[in-house]
Symmetry: C3
Subunit: 160 residues, 3 copies
């Protein structure tokens, strides 16, 4: 094992702002401690990778509905707890600003600067009707096989 | 370690259709890659193992209430997100069909065919008043000790 | 590796009574099997460590609101599922009593007796405006670096 990097692999399933923050804080911390880090975004976690702009790729009816109902990017996500019709996220963003902490979009940017691999699960992209042009640039597209290949040698594996 | 199989051990705590899907997709994938795989169903995750038929085992009042309020089997479970009074699961099942993906009951069947060990947590069965006759056949009954014995040698440990 | 203790490291992110129960049951089990166990409490999971008494530390407006809205200690937390405006937790506590199982406050006490390390994430304490005097005595204060140092050698790592 000498000379080999430690590995952190996170499945981000949740579309909640606070859970995604936790995932990216751990990921950025692990990268800072020289881990090889991958975040696999699946199901609602894919929303963290959506671009902010309104794109109109050709979609079927159900896919259009999902696209409409799901938050468009990290900044639009709700909280897992005390969401209060959207007031919760505003409170969190206020306290983040006040304490000079990083917002979710800033944490994602930092992850990209630290060469954390951001992967989008192609199977759930299909299910939810998300297309590559709707997601951030410079991410990877992967399936469960790629996830397992990573995770089976991982030191820290989390499902968030 | 040579010759030893890799191990994936998942605690399925959640009773959400989408989270259970994620658990079973990872489990089936791991089994396909020759991992030894166990899913420990605890709390609301036990609902994935409930039989579809209405059974009437003798129960106390609280246990009857839990039994009534909890979904009867994998096909009846709600979504963790955008459940919309039950509309969300219908949408997910539509897109699953459309994309020729597998439904949760099909994923559970596949897991059984791949010899994934499905275990039910006896302590939480007690708490929620679930009896063995209400759950699928060919599953195991286990406690936290059995879980830990599995997980402590696991390559991939997840709590879902 | 001979002579070294196995290690279980849990991130408790959730503020739900049932999820915290699951975390503490696994943790107490692992300690009984001689693992070195740490629970890192972050975000809503910090509420499990709040003292029951009403304290009035000097706080800003947002911090006061969070403090008001968040449950004051383990006994006040809601369920992740079937919370029914607080009826769910009562039902769970009834069945816990009936089956001679342990409540969450009892599980936390047992964890402290078993020398499980209970750590509070200082970064999210800041965000939510929680102060040390509001949390249980004899806990540790830590950040993501301490978490990773623990988790990277862990046998069982879970995010709950």
């Amino acid at each position: 094992m000498t000379g080999q990097k430690k590995k952190t692999t996170i499945v981000l399933f949740s579309g909640d702002y606070d859970k995604a923050m936790a995932a990216y804080i751990i990921a950025n911390g692990a990268a800072a401690y020289d881990h090889e880090v991958t975040i696999f975004h699946t199901f609602w976690g894919l929303n963290a990778l959506r671009k902010d702009e309104s794109m109109k790729p050709k979609k079927g009816f159900l896919e259009k509905m999902f696209a409409k109902m799901m938050p468009r990017g990290a900044d639009k996500m709700g909280l897992s707890n005390m969401n209060f019709a959207g007031m919760g996220p505003k409170m969190i963003k206020h306290v983040i600003k006040k304490h000079n902490a990083m917002t979710l979009p800033q944490l994602i940017e930092m992850a990209q600067e630290q060469d954390i691999r951001l992967a989008a699960c192609t199977m759930t992209m299909d299910l939810l009707g998300l297309q590559q042009e709707e997601l951030l640039d410079n991410i990877e597209y992967a399936g469960v096989a790629a996830y397992l290949a990573d995770a089976e040698d991982g030191n820290v594996n989390l499902f968030i």
